[in-house]
Amino acid sequence: MNFKKILPQLLTLVVVILVFVFFSYNAQVNMENRGITFGYGFLSQESSFDVQFSLIEYDGSHSYFRAYLVGLLNTILVSVIGIVFATIIGVIVGIARLSSNYLIERTAAIYVEFFRNIPLLLQIFFWYFAALRALPLPEKAEPIFGVFFLTIKGFFVPAFVWNNLDIFIYSVIAAIIAIVFVRLYAKKKQENQGIQTPVLSISIGLLIILPLLSFFLGGVDASVEIPVIEQLSKTSFTFKGGLKLPPELISLALALSLYTATFIAECVRAGVQGVSKGQKEAAASIGLTPNQVLKLVVMPQALRIIIPPTTNQYLNLTKNSSLAAAIAYPDLVLVFAGTALMQTGRAIEIVSITMLTYLTLSITISIFMNWYNKKIAIKEK
């Protein structure tokens, strides 16, 4: 009987190995014919191409590895922005879909049906080529609240100019650590003595006071730099100073968050509906206030249903951010698998690095979310 178990495994293994051998043999032959040698040494060579938008200092004299980092950081940037906004919109819409108000429920439902049934790529194109192209030129832009400028060349916002930024960041980190300790202490106190501590107000206080202290004692200083219009030539204007968000980033983040929010909204709705009514009634009957019912009874149970599918949506968003290549937002795929691949012709190395990077990103997010999921799961004794 053992034979019946070993044979299929052996066959599969042989097939897989044969396929691999076949592929690698061909790859070797092909590369020899083209005179390329396999290796990752090219990463340290000078890249000699420029990237429009980068978070770290970069120009053509830097290495391919640096270009890779630029792309990776841009991918992470747009994913984080997308995740934050998608979560906010998704939660609001998800709750709106549960509203007893017919108009609100319908509006949310129409939004969900509409945005989830249109391909993401089409939405990105729409925002980039149709909607954002309808914005005014820099010289004609009307300021929003006097300091923001929404133009065809991008969104110009005031930037902070910091002195001793590091001390400020340390103070924020210190505040966060303090909040964690306060929470732990409050939990212990409640378990031992049954006394509740107002954790939320203490945390907010800490988060305001510590950074404020850093301003007075740590010599931190911040001033705001407002974008000012500047004439480049007779007909060309731009804004100087402040922070420029390129239209590629805006349309990509907009499309990603609006699209993913529809899926998150459905997760939220399913999660809240999944908590049985009896739970809420039981909580109310032991004298918890409506806020406490939501915080202590409904949300912990709903989160258990919401988190796993939402994690999947975050992963999808991160992977979908690669569509950036379509509108020339310099993300990992465009910079590395696009420009760098064209220049070096090293298809196997570059595509494998790109895929491995996305695999690592996905696995990191899913490990973190699994850990969090396990932490809040019901601990049955």
């Binding site: 061909n26 108009l103 391909p119 089409l122 194109f125 080529f129 298809a347 996905s362």
Partner: protein, 480 residues
């Protein structure tokens, strides 16, 4: 006579509150309506800010006045229950109503009133509205891509024929119902492929692959007459034998030469495009990804460690990378892995890549269904003496697949929505064609119309699919 207290309306003076409330509410809507449709400003005598918020205040007061509990008036109860439960809800309802009224005129004028329908050049579009003449002129390109105009009937005919053949299941009598699965899984895909290859592509009758197809068809036909006891061995041996016989024994040069005659003009896959390409790609990916995903999911739950870990690795790999990199791989990296004289068409490579990618997702969905089945089902099947395949085919899969219909439908929906990505390898389906049309110097500046058109097309397709899957789910919902 009871005292009127407008701060807390009750049912004693029901009609006084009701009429004043409805009056205020209607007035607020009238103001917004006139303002947005006829740009009449009834409240211009008031200072700016107040005039701006006046409808909101009036409507809010009106809704407050009609928020009367147990009034006994039916339509009032309905209104109160649905849009007017408390102050916050009343405010939100008002905002939504006003937003709809405000946004209707510009939308209507853009879509219909100021839009241009006639004409065949850019000059025809002078109005401020949409230029539907642009869509009309480019309609053929959006549907068929660069496919020659004179040959487009071939695509239409194939699609109509395939739709008919696909709809056979609805008309099948009880007697044929049991062959339907076989038909859809084996016969229909082959017919579809032949249609696409001979008709749309205009390929020669004999090509490398046709031996395989003929072998498969002959062996299936003979297969009906083989006792089921030997069927397994039969299907392992006979197709390969027929293939070898065909290729090496009945090898007539004259026959091959005869077969090279083409009935239709050959159209490169590079020229295919538009919505028809969307359909072709999603159709074939859908056909291929389901069986692959099924085997992967079974592999992942297998007791045999090597098969299990290979399946897990395969699934997690495809699920972890974005589709765009997979397409990059299929276009720039995959040719490196093939022998130099071997060439696989771009479209075929894309279809294989998307199928493998979606198969990983299908596998996870099916695994969910397999896990949801109670252990008792497996035990019961085993206790009847069923082997692994018998157990899965007759007991486990029919139940598990029923459970995962919505999940699979969602995956297919995602597949359809992912097809525009094939622009990466240079194939232009509808979105790609839009981008091409947009850059045409004679038709600059109509990006919006194109995207709105494509959005409507995709919305109709995807919405219909999701509604259909919902119906299927309801139909197959069995009590457990």
């Amino acid at each position: 006579m009871n005292k009127l207290n407008f701060l807390s309306p009750d049912k004693n003076n029901l009609y006084a509150y009701l009429y004043s409330g409805i009056g205020l509410f209607s007035l607020s809507i009238l103001i917004v309506f006139l303002n947005s449709f006829f740009s009449l400003d009834l409240t211009s005598f008031l200072p700016g800010t107040i005039s701006y918020f006046l409808p909101l205040i009036l409507g809010f007061m009106g809704l407050h006045l009609i928020r009367i509990e147990y009034s006994g008036v039916k339509f009032l109860e309905v209104i109160n229950k649905n849009i007017n439960t408390n102050k916050f809800n009343a405010l939100l309802s008002l905002l939504i109503i006003f937003a709809v009224i405000k946004s209707l005129p510009p939308l209507l004028s853009w879509f219909i009133i100021d839009a241009n329908f006639a004409g065949d050049s850019k000059d025809a579009c002078s109005g401020s509205g949409a230029c539907w003449a642009y869509i009309k002129t480019w309609f053929n390109r959006f549907m068929y891509g660069m496919y020659p105009n004179a040959e487009q009937w071939r695509i239409n005919l194939s699609f109509i024929a395939l739709a008919f053949l696909g709809g056979v299941g609805f008309f099948a009598t009880e007697k044929f119902k049991k062959y339907l699965t076989l038909y859809y899984v084996v016969v229909y895909p082959i017919i579809a492929f032949l249609f696409i290859f001979f008709f749309i592509s205009g390929g020669p009758i004999f090509f490398d692959f046709s031996y395989g197809i003929i072998a498969a068809v002959i062996s299936i036909i003979i297969g009906f007459f083989i006792p089921s006891k030997f069927k397994m061995y039969y299907f392992l041996i006979i197709p390969i034998t027929i293939y070898i016989l065909l290729k090496y024994v009945f090898f007539y040069e004259e026959l091959i030469e005869l077969g090279k005659i083409q009935a239709f003009e050959w159209v490169e896959t590079g020229a295919w495009g538009g919505l028809s390409l969307t359909f072709i790609v999603s159709f074939f990916c859908l056909i291929f990804c389901f069986p692959v995903g099924l085997f992967l999911s079974l592999g992942r739950r297998s007791d045999l460690p090597i098969i299990k870990y290979i399946s897990i690795g395969f699934i997690e790999f495809w699920r972890g990378v974005p589709l765009i990199t997979v397409l990059f791989m299929s276009s720039v990296m995959f040719p490196m892995f093939l022998p130099e004289d071997m060439f696989i068409d771009k479209l075929v490579r894309v279809i294989i890549a998307i199928s493998l990618f979606e198969a990983a997702y299908v596998a996870e969905v099916i695994r969910g269904g397999l896990q949801a089945l109670p252990r008792g089902q497996y035990d019961a099947a085993k206790s009847l003496g069923m082997g692994y395949w018998k157990m899965h085919i007759f007991v486990i899969l029919p139940q598990a697949l029923k459970l995962v219909i919505p999940g699979i439908a969602n995956t297919f929906l995602a597949l359809v929505k992912d097809t525009p990505l094939i622009f990466v390898v240079g194939l232009l389906e509808i979105v790609g064609m839009l981008n091409l049309a947009k850059t045409n110097p004679e038709w600059l500046g109509f990006a919006m119309e194109g995207y709105v058109f494509a959005s409507i097309v995709f919305f109709i397709i995807c919405y219909a699919m999701s509604k259909y899957s919902y119906n299927l789910e309801q139909k197959y919902k069995t009590e457990r």
